[in-house]
């Protein structure tokens, strides 16, 4: 509190003379390539927030510079961050869909002492790369460990099979789910990892089926894979309503549900956001987002939207002062009501604290929707919580 008071006084002193200036925000996203759709979702949400809240904050005009990494390319992301800092003289770095890129840019944030907001990349340790970094999205363990524990306690499952993409995020998800599942007393009877760019899942689904599990946990990257996997499950005769199929929210995204059709019924996912969440705040957000982008927002969008909220509120708190320390201090401990529900920035780890929803695909008014069946409140990143101990 004392720190905050000091910051506010200092900010107030500076506010007068800084009024005419601008605040520059550099956004680094994979606008092209495999992850372009996520970048588009997020970018539209950023635009929406600016549209709704005005282009100036704390008396300063905001200016945006957008840069494309073209996919996973940490060397490029780092160069872009450097250029944003030295050439464009940005005050804040934002965006970051992908872990390797966020990690590389984290070095620049640390060295140049710039406030950095990670709006999607989900590996736990990212936020340790720079003391000026905060995250408004999720961590993979946050969602999957909660799901693992839920599957035993409320889902009534004791024997599951896990299948994940064979790369970093897949390994994290596998470990987190198994942690949650085993510590709640469940047993993992088998697991398999498939190549990250796998177009056809029939063989892996057959392996899972051979074990005859009560439930199957799946982690696949978004894009075409959830639908391909869902179809393979249906073709091998695995009905999600009998053998529980569980995964992170990508598995039952809007595009995936559309491609899968009725075979998606019964899939259980853990999510930090879904456009079907039932709150006035969310309905208003979904409507406004549709007005701008012509489609429903997903978790990329909400990460960007909340990221902008964090930037706006932090700037308000510092009175428009842009130094990295002041901004990150302002961000620490901030709490607000997001379209996804109540969220906060953990003052110790600068990572997000939020509600994890357990949802199931059901038919609502003839349409396949994710319906919340349970929720776990105030979930922190479990990995960093353990690291502290």
């Amino acid at each position: 509190m004392k720190k905050l008071a000091v910051a506010l006084t200092v900010a107030a002193l500076y506010a007068g003379q800084a009024a005419a200036q601008t605040v520059k925000i550099g956004i680094i996203l994979p606008y092209t390539g495999q992850f372009a759709d996520g970048a588009k979702q997020m970018d539209d949400a950023i635009k929406l927030y600016v549209q709704q809240h005005g282009e100036s904050v704390a008396g300063k005009k905001l200016e945006f510079v957008r840069k494309d990494t073209g996919g996973i390319a940490p060397a490029v992301a780092k160069r872009l961050a450097q250029e944003l800092v030295v050439r464009e003289q940005v005050d804040i770095l934002a965006g970051f869909l992908l872990t390797p890129n966020a990690m590389a840019a984290g070095d620049v944030s640390a060295e140049a002492k710039k406030f950095m907001v990670v709006m999607n990349a989900a590996t736990s340790i990212i936020t340790t790369k720079s003391p000026y970094m905060a995250r408004t999205s999720l961590t993979t363990p946050q969602l999957n460990e909660s799901l693992g524990a839920w599957a035993v306690k409320k889902g009534g499952l004791h024997k599951v099979y896990t299948m994940v993409s064979d790369y970093g995020p897949g390994h994290d998800a596998e470990q987190a789910f198994q942690n949650g599942f085993k510590s709640a007393g469940g047993e993992v009877i088998g697991s398999v990892r498939f190549p990250p760019n796998n177009p056809d899942f029939a063989a892996f689904v057959q392996r899972a089926k051979d074990q005859n599990p009560e439930g199957i946990f799946v982690f696949v990257p978004g894009g075409a894979q959830p639908a391909a996997l869902g179809k393979a499950l249906a073709e091998r005769g695995i009905d999600a309503r009998k053998t529980k199929v569980m995964g992170q929210l990508e598995l039952a995204s809007e595009e995936a549900r559309k491609a899968m059709g009725d075979t998606a019924l019964g899939i259980i996912t853990s999510a930090h956001y879904d456009d079907n969440l039932d709150s006035a705040r969310n309905r208003e957000f979904v409507k406004a987002y549709n007005g701008l982008a012509g489609r429903n927002p997903n978790f990329f969008a909400v990460g960007g939207y909340d990221g902008m909220h964090l930037i706006y509120e932090a700037l308000k708190k510092t009175g428009g002062k842009t130094d990295g320390q002041a901004l990150v201090d302002a961000a620490k401990g901030m709490k607000w009501e997001s379209p996804r529900g109540p969220i906060a920035i953990d003052p110790e780890t600068r990572d997000i604290v939020q509600t994890v929803y357990i949802q199931r695909v059901e038919k609502v008014g003839g349409e396949l929707k994710n319906v919340v069946v349970d929720k776990v409140e105030n979930v922190k990143d479990p990995v960093k919580a353990r690291m502290k101990k």
């Binding site: 092209t32 390539g33 372009a36 056809d200 063989a203 978004g222 075409a224 391909a228 073709e235 491609a259």
Partner: protein, 287 residues
């Protein structure tokens, strides 16, 4: 046990047939015309988007959208052939590579601009969803359809190119231009038709692929590597070779993933490397 072997064989064959449909057009243009078209999957993408748009927006039935996808792929490639490609038939391989990669880059951006970056899906008719029971097992209806469709395409192609007068002319034109001209064959037209055929086949493959592997602007590059693998392993210009290679790659990939999942990512490349070291010209290649 026996059931799972049959299942793996069936799924692998269907996956292979998907690869065959995507690559057979390239086998025609690269093998017969000796033109390196790295934008081949862009034509597949044209067919895919055409089918998605026709079934989704215009309300066409799926089966009607398939020939339309062929026509869309053939049409776009015909226009490009007349405007650009034909000037490069004599260019070096490297220039052809650079040119067609340029075309593929432009197609990626154009697809993102017109259709958005979102992952597309296609409505298939009821009878292609779910499974079919036979011999006490259940087979995916769509996979069965893929297998039948690709065998039909292969048979039709072999017949058209090897049994008809038109096919004989085309083969003569691409084999020895000077001789063919002397015999009064319109070489320019033969090249044009062959190229359009390649583009049309790609379009059809793209349309059939959507239901299994999805579609987004990255499609122009995502499957390029697999397509090249099938063509190289099959042998240039050999339809039967492509069919055999696609079936072999699909089945070995699927069987490998089922029995040795830890090898999953390596398998298709290992099979390719092994086969090409054994037969550098491909299974049925002449050179």
């Amino acid at each position: 046990m026996l059931g799972s072997i049959v299942g793996v064989l069936f799924d692998g064959l269907a996956y292979g047939m998907l690869l065959f449909l995507l690559s057979v057009g390239l086998s025609v243009t690269l093998g017969m015309m000796n033109f390196v078209n790295l934008a081949h999957c862009s034509f597949a993408m044209v067919g895919g988007y055409a089918a998605v748009w026709l079934t989704g927006r215009a309300g066409w039935p799926f089966l009607a959208a398939l020939p339309a996808a062929f026509i869309a792929g053939a049409g776009v490639s015909l226009v490009l052939e007349r405007m650009l490609y034909r000037r490069l038939y004599r260019a070096s391989d490297l220039d052809q590579c650079l040119f067609t990669i340029g075309i593929a880059f432009m197609s990626v951006a154009a697809a993102a601009y017109f259709f958005g970056t979102v992952q597309q899906s296609i409505d298939t008719p009821r009878w292609l969803e779910g499974t079919v029971a036979a011999f006490g097992m259940r087979f995916s209806a769509y996979r069965l359809f893929l297998i039948v469709a690709s065998l039909a395409v292969a048979a039709l192609l072999v017949w058209a190119l090897e049994r008809t007068r038109f096919g004989a002319r085309v083969r003569a034109a691409v084999d020895n231009q000077r001789m063919a001209r002397g015999l009064g064959i319109d070489v320019d037209r033969a090249f044009m038709i062959t190229f359009a055929l390649g583009g049309g086949l790609a379009g059809l493959g793209g349309a059939l692929a959507v239901a299994m592997i999805g579609l987004d602007p990255g499609f122009a590059f995502t499957y390029l590597v697999y397509v090249l693998i099938v063509v190289a392993v099959g042998g240039l210009g050999s339809i039967g070779g492509s069919l055999a290679a696609a079936a072999l790659l699909g089945i070995s990939d699927m069987a490998g993933k089922y029995y040795f999942p830890w090898l999953g990512a390596f398998l298709i490349y290992l099979v390719m490397v092994g086969l090409l070291m054994w037969r550098p010209a491909g299974l049925f290649g002449k050179r």
